[in-house]
Amino acid sequence: MFDKLALLGFGDGGWGLALLQGAGITIAIALATLPFGLLLGLIVALGKRSENIVLRWLATVYTTVFRGVPELLTLYIIYFGIQIVLQKAWVSLGLPGNFSMPPFVAGMVALGVVLSAFSSEVWVGALNSIQKGQREAAAALGLSKGQAFRLVVFPQLIRVALPGLGNNWMVLLKETSLVSVITLPDIMFITTRANVATKEPFLFFGAAMLIYLFFSLISAWGVGRLEIRANRGFAAFGGATR
């Protein structure tokens, strides 16, 4: 039993280093997706609250589609779809050779689009919680619409949206495991390869589980800390009032 644990080590024939690199890729794609997905989500949320009926309709269709289609399917459509479109563009531009879609970018776009659809719901909820008076007061002070959003609404938004966005992050972290199917060498990809090479699936998938669990626990702790920080000044939420 214990001699098999050496397979997870860093010595000769050990997969320790590869697993560590895989964990790095998992974190990298999750972190790269996060700002893109959240920002897009905020834009979609603003679209949903827009006075323009076409924008509202577009935003609603967007969220309905990307919340309703399985992430795996979205990933395939974006990976192969962009590949085909860009390949055609590549050829029509008369460039030599073939265009190949980097899996990291495809994964980032697919996960980001899904994240934006889910986070837009959180943003809408948070936007609704900001009272109208805040915007009116900002307007009375002579702030432009953009300034009012950036300086008055947004700082208050973060506090309300944080629990929901924290949840989105946890889901995203686990969803990154899907990018292994488009050959991005994340934890799942490395463990699948290790399984093929060593015929020790229980050991390697068990190890992968523990790595993901570790990331999840760290994230839960981190989100908790951020919430405490965002709620400072709100006695009811455990923050100190001065």
Binding site: L72, L73, T176, L178, T192, P201, F202, L213
Partner: protein, 238 residues
């Protein structure tokens, strides 16, 4: 022409027509996987949530560990651990006469999904039960109701209404997540679509599959909205 070829015919898509029947039987596999795992998961979750709240300390700790573990790791990883990992102990399963179970990707996916959704549903039910005001327990106690009767007649009916929406979301999450069953050689809707793409290299087949999933999710969402409206019709301000 058999009935399952019609949608493809109507859309004028050759691939969709050719693989319509495979996708229809795939849809049935998806349906079986989701309905069975969510139903068994719900029964398990009821027990887990109650034991998590009112059980002995060791049970609380064990259930806490269980939900943290299964909610903190990807479903794909869990599926591979069950299908490939537990399949590794073939001799053991043959000895105890369970090899027929762990040999089949369908049963492995069913087991994984059930265990996974039970963890999520247990947390949903725990939250719902916990948000019932204390006064409800005290009122039931004052009426001389037994602990189990309190739970069954006073607490659960109210908690289930609160849990209805998140449970509906969990059902939708499971429908979408079931697509990964195709990665352990199972021909669910996603699996049938992957096969069609691998043979035809026609990307539009993925779009038709997306449309089917979308339709499925939208129908469930609307039915669930109706259900909620119906079950809460006695409540004011709804």
């Amino acid at each position: 022409m058999s009935w399952c070829e019609y949608p493809g015919y109507l859309f004028g898509s050759e691939v969709f027509q050719n693989y319509g029947c495979r996708m229809a039987s795939g849809l049935w596999v998806t349906f079986e996987l989701v309905v069975i795992s969510v139903a068994i998961g719900f029964v398990l979750a009821l027990g887990l949530a109650i034991a998590r709240l009112y059980g002995p300390r060791w049970a609380k700790a064990a259930i806490n560990g269980y939900t943290t573990f299964f909610r903190g790791t990807p479903l794909l990883c869990q599926l591979f651990l069950v299908y490939y990992g537990l399949g590794q102990f073939r001799l053991f399963w043959q000895d105890v006469g369970l090899w027929w179970f762990f040999r089949e990707p369908f049963y492995c996916a069913l087991l994984t999904f059930t265990v996974n959704t039970a963890a999520y549903q247990a947390e949903i039910l725990r939250g719902a039960i916990q948000s019932i005001p204390r006064g409800q327990f005290e009122g039931a106690m004052a009426l001389g109701l037994h602990r189990w009767s309190t739970l069954r007649l006073v607490i659960m009916p109210q908690a289930m209404i609160l849990a209805l929406r998140p449970l509906g979301n969990e059902l939708i999450v499971m429908i979408k997540a079931s697509a990964i069953a195709s990665l352990v050689t199972l021909f669910d809707l996603m699996g049938a679509t992957r096969l069609a793409f691998a043979r035809s290299f026609d990307l539009t087949i993925y779009l038709y599959a997306a449309l089917i999933y979308l339709l499925l999710v939208e129908v469930i969402r609307r039915v669930w909205d109706r259900l909620e409206l119906r079950l809460t019709r006695h409540m004011a301000l709804r």
